[in-house]
């Protein structure tokens, strides 16, 4: 009886996982379909859509914009996020709970509203839409997530190491760069990767903030989607999934390998 219920739960779980991954697998498979249409049936195996993709200048330009935007967002959001997380982890001060809430609050503001608000504020300041607006906007969207991720990682670092360095004669700055920062590095990486992904993936706010003529990968795909899914989009999806899933997985595997070897 108990076993039967358990099997039922297991089957249910497997079905939910299939629901989550089947459509993604379909995109990955269709990227290699030689048919000139983006859907079924599968007519044969071909790399032609990847070749086509590499020749599509609009997509390459969008990819470059997205990567630069994501990298800059990662730098800004991670810098701000680490400073804030340090304050939350290392110090006790009055109003800490309130401050934590304020730092997380942007997550709870609907992104559409956040986008319109910033856009109207810029309009009032007579600042036109620009790459800079996208950068600031993406950074503020990523910031709460970076704070949460970094804060969770920082809590695990013991202060004894820093105190040892200080007692051995290092000044605070030396201590930070020789002890604290290397210990924080995994947190920095995790935060930066998260910020990059959030920026790279954003479409809701980006549609409002981008200047006319500037496309990121998601807005480019969105624009190409009007008629149907073209096979190039499948190929692009394949490439994007390889980057955004492959890079963190490799980073994780490398970190694990590295840790095992240093132990």
């Amino acid at each position: 009886m108990k076993l039967r219920v358990w099997t039922l739960l297991k089957t249910y779980t497997i079905l939910v996982y299939i629901f989550m991954f089947a459509p993604i697998v379909v995109v990955l498979v269709l990227a290699f379909n030689s048919s000139q249409f983006g859907g079924f049936p599968i007519e044969g195996f071909s790399f032609r859509w990847f070749v086509k993709l590499s020749e599509n200048e609009a997509i390459i330009r969008a990819l470059r914009t997205s990567v630069i935007l994501g990298a800059c967002t990662a730098v800004i959001a991670t810098t701000l996020g680490i400073l804030a997380a340090l304050a939350l982890v290392r110090y006790t001060f009055r109003g800490k709970d309130l401050i934590t809430t304020v730092l997380i609050a942007p997550v709870l503001v609907p992104e559409t509203v956040l986008a319109v608000g910033l856009l109207i504020f810029m309009r009032w300041l007579h600042v036109p839409r620009s790459f800079g607006l996208l950068l600031l906007g993406h950074s503020i969207i990523a910031l709460p997530f970076v704070v949460l991720v970094v804060q969770a990682r920082l809590t695990g670092i013991r202060r004894d190491y820093e105190e040892a360095a200080r007692s051995l004669g290092a000044n605070p700055l030396q201590t930070f760069f020789a002890v604290t920062f290397p210990l924080m590095l995994p947190a920095v990486f995790a935060g930066a990767l998260f910020a990059f992904t959030i920026s790279f993936d954003n479409i809701t706010a980006t549609i409002f903030w981008r200047p006319s003529g500037m496309e990121t990968v998601p807005t480019q795909i969105f624009g190409m989607l009007r008629n149907s899914v073209s096979p190039e989009i499948n190929a692009l999806g394949f490439v994007m999934i390889c980057i955004t899933v492959g890079v963190p997985l490799m980073a994780g595997a490398l970190a694990r390998y590295y840790m095992r070897n240093t132990k």
Binding site: M20, A87, Y91, G117, I140, I207, T244
Partner: protein, 290 residues
Amino acid sequence: MSSSDQSIDKRPWLLLSPSLMAITLLVVIPMAFILVYSFYENIDLAVDKVAFQFGNWSEVMTDGYYRTAIWKTLRLSVIVTVLAAVLGYIPAYFIAMTKFRDKWLLLLLLILPFWISFIIRTLSWIHIFGNQGALNGLFQLLGLTDAPLSLMYNEFTVIVGFIHVFLPYMILNIYVSLEGIDENLEPAARTLGATPWQAFREVTLPLSMPGLAAGCLLVFVLTGGSYVTPLILGGPSDFLFGNLIYDAIVTELNWPMGATLSFTLLLLLGLVVVLYSRLMGLNQLSKAFK
């Protein structure tokens, strides 16, 4: 000037100031500007006049079109939230309770969708339900139909798209609170004579409520604020309140109306968040990251 120890320590505030400044400048002040702009008057495309009038607000309050949109948005958000909770609870329970050695793999697979592009995940459903999708392909292969059935661009596909994207949030939140429950409690209830179902209903389910509630809040607010998913997977009548904002700002260039609608959405979803934080506090929301 020996202020550092005794009185207020300035260092945390120094560390916090860049973030707090950014949030004030890029979130708080813009929200105030939305309110101010909602009283402005729209003259023409992208031209508006500084004013203090309630025209936009009275239009939003009285025009049935906007009321329909609010109703549709709440309805869809509730449907998506309930379905996500029903679909998500059992997997979360299974992952938390399983003695399976490769549990980490299940957790990794749960986080994986967060790394995959939202727009790719959303459009992938066109490959399932579309005219050239997997289902129509299957039907034709089996000889059930000659012409492709139109299964796409309706409320159902919008709901499926939303659940697909938001389900990991739900499962992760429920999992976190199930994982925190003392694993001796359910056996203890069993020894005291409870059936497995009673033990679950009286002990585990109530203790997992904070995670379930946090997951529901996230899914509700995220769905209620969306507009991209209906544009990709929905038909002309499957719009949400967010789509009206998109239309007002991007298509009609009517900024005062866009501002009024944005503030309305902020109020509606803000009300839900406030209600939740009164009941549960906001701490649970950050737990999924640890």
